[in-house]
Symmetry: C2
Subunit: 144 residues, 2 copies
């Protein structure tokens, strides 16, 4: 049985973000890849929607500019035929101020001919914002 497309993609993604080595990932992105990481783009301009290989490689290099990955723990993996979803816990260090950030990424990928055609990433962005600011944001309780 051939290896699921997820694994080569995941390795190439780490190479891009950790080592700024983008040749592998370039070969594994569909030319018209449909990409979105949901979150506050005012604070994190590398979040949001992108279309196409070049735009996605740009985003990965921006992420590499801003963070180093310390740990990467895949808590859940669900594999379909040409689809995959993972829940990944990451520990990052912000290059700007050496702050440690811990976050969970929920990833939904669709592959076409072994290349990433679509990606959606969801994360607990309120927690990410508080960790980045370094202090809690005061919130009212809304619950009945």
């Amino acid at each position: 049985m051939a290896e699921h497309s997820l694994w080569a993609f995941a390795r190439a993604l780490r190479q891009a973000v950790e080592d700024r080595e983008t040749d592998h990932i370039a070969a594994l992105l569909d030319d018209e890849v449909d990409w979105a990481i949901f979150g506050p783009i005012d604070m994190f301009p590398f979040l949001g929607a992108r279309r196409g290989k070049e735009a996605v490689i740009d985003v990965l290099l921006q992420i590499a500019d801003n963070f180093r990955i310390n740990k990467f723990d895949r808590e859940v993996t669900v594999l379909g035929d040409d689809t995959a979803s993972t829940l990944v816990k990451c520990s990052l260090t912000a290059n700007d101020n050496e702050k440690s950030i811990s976050l969970r990424l929920a990833n939904f990928a669709r592959f076409s001919k072994g290349r990433l055609a679509k990606l959606r990433v969801v994360m607990d962005t309120f927690d990410l914002v508080e960790q980045t600011l370094g202090h809690p944001i005061n919130l009212p309780s809304i619950s009945r």
Copy 2:
């Protein structure tokens, strides 16, 4: 081929939240279910971790107290043998102030003998907080 455990579970979940009818969901929750919806529990006390069937049914009724579901659109579904993940776009109305809230839920479920044994839910909580407050939270840009 038997129906995947996800589908009966998803129907029972909606019955619980929409109609406060919890008999079906009670039969589809493992007694020791391990449950977590990641998000700011100070603002939304029904988020967070729960253990066991009764605690989870309590949470569902709290969600039912606070929100009505208007629309529910499953954008991505990935099915494993005893696992499933979905990316669901929901439109809700807050009962408190009739505010409309739109959010995406990333769900990772593991079933054991047809019952939910583990659930992890991730969402764009910063967006949820801003929608609930009804105004944006001012953020600095951190990007290089």
